[in-house]
Symmetry: C2
Subunit: 353 residues, 2 copies
């Protein structure tokens, strides 16, 4: 582990670019003074901004590029236009070249995942990357993955997701063996879930290190916080995430409408203002902003595109933690022979361990 945590920032990513990335980095630096930063982007915009944050400026350097990936570029367009020269690519490239320990971008998810996968490649023993997020729950927070990096999952991929999600949860929640649940649906004996059942069997029987396998969980268990890590394939995971966000906004709208409907409700709102503020804070998506790309030879963090400096700082914080507490080493430790679906050739070795 390096003395300092070196953070590469795609300064042009997101809806607001440097005006959010720079102050966001400064907020995170205040919490982690052992960070240093490389900003990739338009020097003419970045340098005057950095002057306003002397503490940050002292530990930062700027690498200029004119090329920025647009938020609505398709991955293939982004690669054509930005490979080798965009702020997003260069941030990832810094990780590839070991000039940085982690890259953080608020740019578009598809492009960031495509560039990260092509440039960093998947870890030995992992076939496909994943996106994990921190999901606020009634019990605290949980890690949920995959949120859409890949669609569909065979048994091995589900087991790999469990290993990678647990490594992330060990860091975030400071646990030795996080509880892990496989997302499933309640209807028993429905066909088509063989891979989920097989993955469950492997997680239950093989006594993998640093995993406390709970069993199947359903959609409503995510918000309850039934387990520390919720594992599912990317399509269902993405639908779950977006549906939860939609439901939260929907209820927020109802609440707002209800609170302005009558004069009494408005008076009530005034009395309960601090309670509503606490509620809003509880539901604040900035608090858990930061999707972690897992399974690659390097750490990449995706911030929401529309976030503000506080939200971007939360994404940088997550990147810092993933480096400081050695996410990649922890995933490596989890990739034991017993975690292979087909252990026929490794069975003897596994038993000898």
């Amino acid at each position: 582990m390096p003395q300092k945590v070196r953070i590469a920032l795609d300064a042009m990513g997101g809806d607001h670019g440097p005006s959010v990335v720079v102050p966001g980095a400064d907020l995170s630096l205040a919490r982690h003074p052992d960070s240093e930063f490389i900003f990739f982007g338009d020097r003419a915009v970045l340098e005057p901004l950095l002057v306003r944050y002397p503490r940050l400026q002292a530990v930062s350097r700027v690498v200029h590029t004119d090329v920025a990936i647009k938020m609505d570029d398709k991955p293939s367009q982004a690669l054509r236009a930005g490979r080798g020269k965009s702020s997003m690519w260069l941030a990832i490239d810094a990780v590839k070249k070991h000039e940085a320990d982690v890259a953080v971008s608020a740019g578009n998810t598809g492009a960031l995942m495509a560039m990260s996968t092509i440039h960093l490649r998947t870890m030995a023993g992992i076939d496909r990357p994943a996106i994990a997020a921190i999901w606020p729950t009634l019990r605290g927070e949980s890690v949920v993955l995959d949120l859409g990096a890949t669609i569909g999952a065979d048994t091995q991929h589900l087991v790999d997701l469990a290993l990678m999600g647990s490594a992330m949860a060990r860091i975030l929640f400071d646990l030795d063996s996080p509880t892990v649940g496989l997302l499933n649906i309640g209807v028993e004996e429905v066909k088509g879930l063989e891979e989920v059942r097989e993955a469950g069997q492997i997680l239950r029987e093989r006594n993998l290190p640093h995993i406390n396998y709970f069993g199947f969980v359903e959609g409503d268990d995510i918000g309850k916080g039934t387990v520390d890590v919720v594992v599912t394939e990317g399509f269902a995971g993405n639908i779950a995430l977006k549906t939860a966000e939609g439901t939260a906004r929907q209820i927020g709208s109802y609440l707002k409408a209800a609170m302005s409907r009558t004069i009494w409700a408005r008076i009530g709102y005034l009395f309960a203002r601090s309670a509503f503020r606490a509620l809003a804070e509880k539901m604040d998506p900035r608090r858990s902003n930061g999707g972690v790309f897992l399974g690659l030879n390097g750490i990449v963090i995706k911030s929401h595109g529309g976030t503000d400096a506080e939200g971007f700082a939360a994404a940088v914080d997550i990147g810092y933690d993933m480096v400081r507490y050695e996410l990649l080493a922890k995933i490596g430790q989890a990739l034991v022979p017993a975690a292979r679906v087909d252990t026929s050739t490794q069975a003897a070795g596994g038993a000898a361990l």
Copy 2:
């Protein structure tokens, strides 16, 4: 269409059995005086209860059975124990024999779907059944399907879901051509969604009757009410439904905690009580209680197991509407040759129509 809407009730289904089913039927009868009922279940319990509801008793008969399906029976267990004799089976059987127009059960979903599919069989032209629910949205309500009847979906099944969901939405929302969206994830160019893309192409290009195809929607569009009908395969649909329910409960808990945290918040709550009541009503799952089984030769409605009389009445109401406004005929009309994925053999016929 029969003069009366004849409703078969699994009187022993659900967590509360007859004590909810009987008063629920009475509430629905008050709204639809042209209903009549057959109660399947324990005569010794049902008849004394019915005496308390003379209006209902006058249009009801009881068919006795000792056998009830348990809420936690697996479908295979339920079939072994209850085929031909349980209250659930007999209610479905009444639809099969044209003694009733619709069956309503609060019993366990897996058993009800298995029995309905085995006994009623899928409609000609439909390969697999589906479960559709009415989802409250910011714009009103939408139909969402499939919620877990079957896992995975090929192109034809997705198109069929669109046809069946539209038929249901035509009735519920009194629309000629409901808008239809295919649930998808935002990341472009991800592999594995060929069937969703192909289904979208068919819905867009073939000008199917009574469908206004909108395009892809994401998880957060469900709560927004972007479209009248949201189509997805059963695994993702079930995860979406349960995740939304979990999120709603989670926010409800936060709100409750916030409102009792300080004396000011409690006072505010008192002022805003009617607003909170309106909010609770808005979020009341009883209002839209009733999953509709689609694609079978008969109409079966699934009520939540834990619901009360008001919620069960809502499920009966939906069953009434599906009969009165001819769901099966509307689905039949939608099954035009142009809705077949492979129209090579029917193309000439389709063009001649």
